[in-house]
């Protein structure tokens, strides 16, 4: 028996010519296999419709939300960059050594095991009162500690008797 797979596909897609429809339905009335094929094709078509509609919705929604997200990120980054540049250029850099118009700010040396505040000489004018007080109290504490250390005094007797001053 001849099966009508090709005509069934045309029928599903709405492309079957009118004259061929009668023959196809007569065959379907007799052929169980072709009826099953038609049922599968119809189900497949329905599923593909649903799939497409779902994906179209997603495609319609995703790009728009993504675009706005990236747009927002771009604008936020631009604003942040402008603020950063303004902040950097508006600040007066602190040099290590004195120039004629600037106040001397000493270099920071950090030693292992010593709290940071003890390692730095800070330009206290630029500090908040709280931080200034914290650093000053820390300095005072360290100063007291140092003053209580055992002292070895270097005296004239320890001076080596030669004259470095003669070096030119």
């Amino acid at each position: 028996m001849k099966h009508y797979d090709y005509e069934l596909n045309l029928f599903i897609d709405g492309e079957l010519e009118e004259g061929n429809g009668e023959e196809l339905f007569l065959h379907l009335a007799e052929c169980n296999e072709c009826r099953n094929t038609l049922a599968d094709l119809l189900l497949l078509k329905e599923k593909s419709k649903m799939y497409c509609s779902e994906n179209i919705n997603q495609l319609k929604q995703k790009p728009s939300s993504s675009k706005s997200f990236y747009k927002f990120g771009f604008y936020a980054a631009s604003v942040a960059a402008v603020f950063l540049l303004f902040f950097l250029f508006s600040r007066n850099p602190k040099d290590t050594f004195t120039t004629q118009k600037q106040v001397r700010v000493d270099t920071v040396f950090v030693q292992k095991g010593i709290p940071v505040t003890q390692n730095q000489l800070t330009n206290t004018n630029s500090l908040t009162p709280g931080k200034k007080e914290l650093i000053q109290s820390s300095q005072q504490e360290y100063l007291r500690y140092v003053m209580n250390l055992r002292t070895e005094k270097f005296t004239e007797a320890d001076k080596l008797k030669f004259d470095y001053g003669s070096i030119q």
Binding site: Q111, Q118, L143, R150, K161
Partner: protein
């Protein structure tokens, strides 16, 4: 420039030391170096102190005359071993630790502060503290250290003890002393005596000759403390 000055100063000290020993004029530099460090090496060997691995720290604390901290400087930690062309550590069985702190010259005399800020010579002037530490004995965790402090003044002229002015682009002095230090201990080295070295810096500021002097413009305003710490010997 600084390295050359230090090198020259060490050379000068070594040769001067050799002269005081009344040795012949034809000794080589190596011989002179050995004559200086050889004695310390001999002592260290007798005391069985051969190249200990000490972690030493060096700080320079400056306070005003009221005892308030002006600033605190720290050298690189731990102090490194001395290695120069003159002193090759491979030729010796002792360790020489060397620390250095360089400070710019700051004029504290308020009457001359503004002039000092305009003076290029003051801006360029530097004072270097070099600390040379040689462990020569050990009892338990207490080490006897031969501590030398070399103070170098770059771009300074100076006064001789007789008060004569000498134009120079570098000057300085050295103190040396044996000090006991226990592991974990910190001591301060009082350097008040260093203020006996009188210097001056002469410059033209705003078309006028200005002289900055050690006592009037500098020493009278602060005390310096060199702080030496022995953190570990392992």
């Amino acid at each position: 420039m600084k390295k050359i000055i230090i090198f020259l100063m060490v050379l000068t000290s070594l040769f001067s030391f050799a002269q005081t020993e009344k040795k012949t004029k034809h000794r080589s530099v190596e011989e002179v170096v050995r004559s200086v460090y050889g004695k310390l090496e001999k002592t260290a060997l007798e005391n069985n102190v051969v190249k200990p691995k000490l972690s030493l720290g060096m700080e320079l604390l400056r306070t005003d005359k009221k005892g308030q901290q002006i600033w605190l400087r720290k050298s690189e930690y731990p102090l490194g071993s001395k290695t120069t062309k003159l002193f090759n550590p491979n030729n010796f069985k002792l360790s020489i630790y060397e620390g250095k702190i360089i400070i710019p010259l700051q004029i504290y005399n308020t009457a001359k502060k503004d002039l000092a800020l305009k003076s290029k010579k003051i801006h360029d002037a530097q004072i270097t503290y070099v600390l040379e530490i040689i462990p020569i004995d050990k009892k338990g965790s207490t080490y006897t250290l031969n501590v030398s402090i070399i103070n170098i003044f770059e771009d300074f002229s100076y006064y001789t003890p007789e008060g004569k002015r000498v134009n120079s682009n570098s000057s300085g002095f050295e103190y040396s002393k044996k000090i006991e230090l226990t592991v974990g201990e910190k001591i301060k080295l009082n350097t008040d005596d260093f203020h006996s070295f009188q210097w001056y810096v002469e410059d033209i500021v705003d078309g006028q000759k200005v002289v900055f002097e050690s006592n009037k413009d500098y020493y009278n305003y602060f005390n310096d403390y060199l702080i030496l710490s022995l953190e570990s010997d392992k």
